[in-house]
């Protein structure tokens, strides 16, 4: 169970939050001029990188506010949280690249837990 810091309420248990997927995707204002493919890109396509990315959370059991977070998906570490409307902070993963030193591209399997 992760700890997540809500920008309004402080640090709380993960069980209080719901996840909202990739952040900084705005609803297009000009959808009628978009091609099917462009519209489908907005509706269906999301990134799923291994590493640092921005995502949305909602403090569902608390203030019910949406907010953004920068998280390293390879380590589950939150690097920053910020309110909706604020720009994405310029943060990068610190410390060990991944907990097990496994390749950056790969399954995320942390089987080989030995220091190499």
């Amino acid at each position: 169970m992760l700890l997540i810091t809500c920008p309004h309420c402080g640090t709380r248990d993960q069980s209080e939050f719901t996840y909202g997927g990739e952040a900084h995707i705005s609803r297009p204002a000009n959808s009628e001029t978009m091609t099917d493919a462009q519209w489908a890109e907005f509706v269906f396509m999301r990134n799923n990188p291994k590493g640092v990315w921005a995502e949305r959370w909602m403090h569902a059991s608390g203030c019910r506010k949406w907010f953004n977070a920068v998280r390293d998906t390879s380590t589950d570490r939150f690097l920053a949280v910020y309110k909706i409307g604020e720009p994405r902070p310029n943060v990068t993963a610190a410390g060990l690249a991944t907990p097990s030193g496994e390749p950056v591209i790969g399954s995320g399997n942390d089987a080989a837990k030995v220091m190499r």
Partner: protein, 1006 residues
């Protein structure tokens, strides 16, 4: 008669004898004994059979590391616990324990034939069976399940109570041995909130296994020092000490789970029924100290699995902690200095040490001299090549090592009843590994020890590879100071101590992953995993068959996959693999440690959140009335709704027919309190509604209501409901019962993230209002009687409008909306008056024979009218046009999902569309979910090509025939045509495709 109990010593209470049974035979022990120590005191070594070959198993360890000394505890079928480690079960008067995995008895076990055919049950036997064709598995599974069992699971409902407990602390110390005590004391003195968890009943750890006359800390015996620590900790309000509490899981963000045995160790009469049997502690720690100690490793040699073969440290623990001699004539077999100390301690207590066998070429001179002075024969650079003894070891056969992975010289046969083995020590790094820290191989141990940390934790003492008491105390104090400082108690200094101990040579172990026997590899039976019966040759076979990764070899051979999680297995297996692969230990690595560290009961994990408290059942203010009027309840999400009200003599089906008929011929009332309700306010509320509903909302006048559809951005129907305009800037939205929370969150999401410029506030008012939906030809009469001075006549109160009124003086909102096609009113009153409203409605309707109707009749009535239920007639792939409802997608403005409605896929002509179905035979009711096909004969092709499926199907009392709604490919074009509904075991049913409003088309001529 405790033949192997020493006359004095040990931490047991000799003034309180305890009587217990094992396999029906009565034994005596003392308070403070474990089942293992008490049985050993009575000379019982063999207590179990192994998992695969049913070989006799004894007691190898003295704690949670013991691999195979598993027993069944308790005779009561509902409470019995299987697979309990005898080394952990505390005895009490009346305790009943049993051997398991053997039949008919422990000494004569039919399953032991497996041991005679062991050559044909190689490693990977199960694995190959599982991976083979399914037929193999189908054939073998029942056999395997019967043969390779452990204990018996309890039957019936667990009668015991369990609880979970959340705690936050500054410093959590896992392990109450010398390092853990020093860490806890240091952190506690700083004022930090400290939790200390100790797996066993006693603080002290390895100190409890030391000769009390040889070691002193702060001028006290080890036991006195532990007692002083305990007393100091108990006095501090910021400290919680939990014994019998195992830290079994280290999760993200320093979330550590502890399992506490609260009453299992007490005699049933002494248990407090109000308190739980076991308690789960869910700890959030700012900083963690892992002082989990180390585990001695067995040695891997031919015949190493007989009862009577025990870890040297365990023999010492039984001696000093329990006052028990594990044998009278012992061989000590080691590859390090540590076990020499064990040998001398055993000798001092009167155990005859008949040999010390050391695999090292040149054991230290000092040790050799001490052995000589005690008259102990020493076999340096030697190994045990064989043992004998059916149920208990009787002899050991010793030969010299030749230095080239073989043996040489004459065999010496030594009679003994105990072989104390030591293959060195492994730090208990399971929690560290679970915390995602990296292990590193330390050739000096040799073993894996904690490397860099990933979370806010540090290891101390033996868990960190420290093998001397002085180092353990120092590391513990330093770790406690570091943890306290980092958790906000700056300047914490390590607690001081003084230690007096005889000079002991350092531990100086060597790596001997498998010892030679002089036999052929195939006839050598050297066990690595005593629970799962994995032998060294199995691991070699795995490598030969291509399993080069430690993770794969583990799964192939099931090494370390038993209930003991291979605590005595790990490094021996990795070492054998490394040798076989020709790689270094560092390269081979270790398998991943998983939570839990040891088996935890499901009861402890569930805690108080089981049974009646498993999940909330939300009830409406009218619930009690429903319950007392024959309601059958239906869970709808978390809600309980009355599904139907059965009167005396009625079945579910006949009650349903009566309710649905009365609601059209006279008057019926539905409890609609569960509908989601959202209060919407702000100058942009109307614009907001126009964006979130697919139909048009800008022109809805105050006092009027409108039905709306909500889509997701993919254009598919998401929810529906009626929203009323209370004022220009004030609306009352309703949603489906199940969608209430989902819709509110979704609307908030758009307001918070997309349309931050809109001046709109939303607040849920779902349960503020209790709702009675009154419908039928006599509905107006009932409403007129319920509401005060209110004219509900349609001429005065048009369809899809709303009025403020009072009912019995209580403010009410009345909506003229209908989900049945009948004249209907929904009366909303504040929830605390909900039951009163309901009773008032029933009283007013009495002369019209009003019926309360449940969700089942509501579903039927709306289906007669062709109204949809989102989630039943739609499934997330249905767009507004697919419902063939005109006017539900406006063109005047953008709304959520609009652009998707013109996507190529959404405008396909052959999309599934909602239509009605009338079976040729009106008495046949279609099965919901049934497939619709194009041919009168069931096609041979599989899967059969389907046109769609039946979404709703009922026997309609008002139309006197069956009706159904269905999603059918190009359904709109098929009106009037015949389709066929597939069913099992009979020919497809003929049905005609019709429009969805059955009342309109069938009602007139029924």
């Amino acid at each position: 008669m405790q033949r192997f109990r020493l006359h004095q010593g040990g931490l047991i209470d000799r003034s309180r004898p305890v009587h217990f049974t094992f396999d029906g035979r009565s034994y005596e022990g003392y308070t403070g004994d474990t089942l293992a120590s008490a049985l050993l005191a009575n000379g019982v070594h063999m207590i179990a059979r192994s998992f695969k070959y049913h070989r006799p198993r004894g007691i190898l360890g003295a704690g949670s590391e013991d691999p195979a000394g598993l027993v069944q505890v308790g005779a009561n079928a509902n409470e019995t616990d299987p697979n309990m480690r005898a080394t952990e079960v505390e005895i009490f008067d009346g305790l009943e324990t049993f051997s398991q995995n053997c039949w008919p008895s422990l000494s004569f076990d039919i399953g032991a034939v497996n041991d005679l055919v062991w050559r044909w049950l190689p490693a990977g036997f199960y694995y190959k069976t599982f991976m083979g064709p399914p037929a193999n598995w189908m054939f073998f599974e029942p056999l395997i399940r019967r043969a390779a069992g452990l204990g018996k699971a309890p039957e019936g409902k667990d009668p015991d109570r369990y609880e979970s407990q959340n705690r936050h602390c500054d410093v959590l110390v896992a392990g109450g041995g010398p390092s853990g005590l020093m860490a806890a004391l240091t952190a506690a003195r700083s004022g930090a909130r400290v939790i200390l968890s100790e797996e066993t009943p006693l603080l002290g750890g390895r100190l409890n296994a030391l000769d009390p006359s040889e070691t002193s800390i702060n001028g006290k015996t080890p036991r006195e020092w532990v007692a002083a620590c305990e007393a100091e900790l108990a006095k501090l309000p910021n400290v919680t000490v939990l014994t019998r509490t195992c830290a079994f899981g280290y999760y993200a963000d320093n979330f550590v789970a502890l399992a506490q045995i609260e009453q299992d160790h007490l005699a049933p009469a002494a248990r407090d029924a109000a308190r739980p049997r076991q308690r789960l502690w869910r700890i959030r720690a700012k900083e963690v100290v892992l002082a989990t100690g180390a585990t001695e490793r067995p040695l891997v040699f031919h015949g190493n699995d007989r009862p009577g073969i025990m870890l040297a440290s365990a023999a010492e623990t039984y001696l000093h902690r329990y006052g028990v001699k594990a044998g009278n004539r012992a061989v000590v077999f080691t590859n390090n200095n540590g076990a020499w100390g064990s040998a001398f301690a055993l000798a001092k207590a009167g155990v005859q040490i008949v040999a010390i066998v050391d695999a090292r070429p040149a054991p230290e001179e000092a040790l050799m001299r001490q052995a000589a002075s005690l008259g102990i024969p020493v076999h340096p650079h030697a190994t045990i090549v064989d043992t004998r003894g059916q149920f208990r070891v009787k002899t050991a056969v010793v030969r010299r090592l030749d230095g080239h992975r073989g043996v040489s010289g004459e065999a010496t046969v030594i009679n003994c009843d105990l072989i104390a083995v030591s293959g060195g020590w492994s730090p208990n790094a399971a929690l560290f590994s679970q915390s995602r820290g990296k292990l590193r191989f330390d050739a000096g141990l040799p073993g894996f020890r904690p490397g860099p940390s990933w979370q806010a934790e540090r290891s101390a003492g033996a868990a960190n590879g420290a093998m001397k008491l002085a180092d353990c105390l120092a590391e513990g104090a330093a770790a406690g100071a570091d943890a306290a400082t980092k958790s906000g108690f700056a300047g914490t200094n390590p607690a001081a101590y003084t230690l007096q101990q005889p000079d002991a040579p350092s531990y100086n172990g060597i790596a001997t992953w498998q010892l030679p026997s002089g036999r052929s590899a195939s006839s050598t039976r050297a066990f690595v995993d005593l629970q799962n019966d994995v032998q060294a040759k199995d691991l070699k076979l795995a490598v030969q068959e291509g399993y080069a990764s430690v993770e794969h070899a583990k799964r192939y051979t099931t090494t370390g996959m038993g209930t003991d999680q291979g605590k005595t297995v790990g490094i021996n297996a990795f070492g054998i693999l490394a040798d076989e692969l020709g790689k270094s230990m560092q390269e081979v690595g270790v398998t991943t440690y998983r939570q839990p560290f040891k088996p935890i009961t499901f009861g402890a994990l569930a805690g108080q959140h089981g049974g009646a408290l498993y999940a909330p059942r939300r009830t409406t203010p009218m619930h009690d009335w429903h319950e007392s009027h024959g309601a059958v309840f239906e869970p709808v999400g978390e809600w309980l709704r009355a599904q139907v009200y059965t009167r005396p003599g009625e079945t579910f089906a006949s009650a349903l027919q009566r309710e649905a008929r009365t609601a059209r011929t006279s008057v019926g009332v539905l409890d609609a309190s569960t509908l989601g309700k959202i209060d919407i306010r702000g100058k942009d509320a109307r614009e907001f509604l126009n964006r979130v509903y697919s139909n048009a909302w800008l022109k809805l006048a105050p006092g009027r209501c409108r039905y709306g559809l909500m889509l997701k951005e993919d254009g598919m129907v998401f929810d529906d409901g009626v929203t009323a305009c209370l004022a220009e800037d004030h609306f009352h939205m309703t949603t489906t019962t199940g969608g209430a929370a989902r819709v509110l969150n979704w609307l908030e999401e758009y307001l918070q993230t997309e349309w931050t410029d809109l001046e709109v506030y939303l607040t849920s008012v779902t349960e503020q209002w209790a709702v009675a939906a009154i419908g039928g030809p006599k509905a107006a009469e009932v409403v007129a009687a319920v509401a005060d001075k209110f004219n509900p006549n349609p001429g005065n109160f048009p369809f899809m409008s709303f009025r403020e009124a009072t009912a019995g003086g209580i403010p009410a909102r009345i909506f003229r909306i209908s989900f049945t096609g009948e004249l209907s009113y929904e009366i909303n009153v504040p929830a605390s008056y909900g039951l009163a409203l309901w009773e008032r409605v029933m009283a007013a309707g009495d002369k019209y024979k009003i019926t309360a109707y449940g969700t089942e009749a509501m579903h039927l009535l709306r289906a007669e009218k062709g109204f949809i239920i989102v989630g039943q007639d739609t499934d997330g792939t249905v767009a507004p046009d697919d419902l063939r409802m005109p006017g539900m997608a406006k063109t005047s403005a953008d709304f959520i999902g609009r652009r998707s409605l013109t996507r190529a896929d959404t405008v396909r002509k052959d999309r599934k569309q909602l239509v009605g179905l009338l079976t040729e035979d009106p008495s046949v009711v279609l099965m919901e979910g049934a497939h619709i096909i194009a041919t009168a004969v069931e096609p041979v092709e599989r899967p059969a090509p389907a046109l769609g499926h039946v979404t709703s199907s009922y026997k309609s009392p008002n139309l006197n025939r069956s009706i159904a709604l269905a999603l059918v490919k190009g359904g709109g074009e098929l009106i009037g045509k015949t389709v066929y509904v597939s069913r099992k075991g009979a020919d497809p049913i003929h049905a005609t495709v019709v429009e969805t409003d059955f009342m309109k088309q069938v009602g007139s001529h029924s």
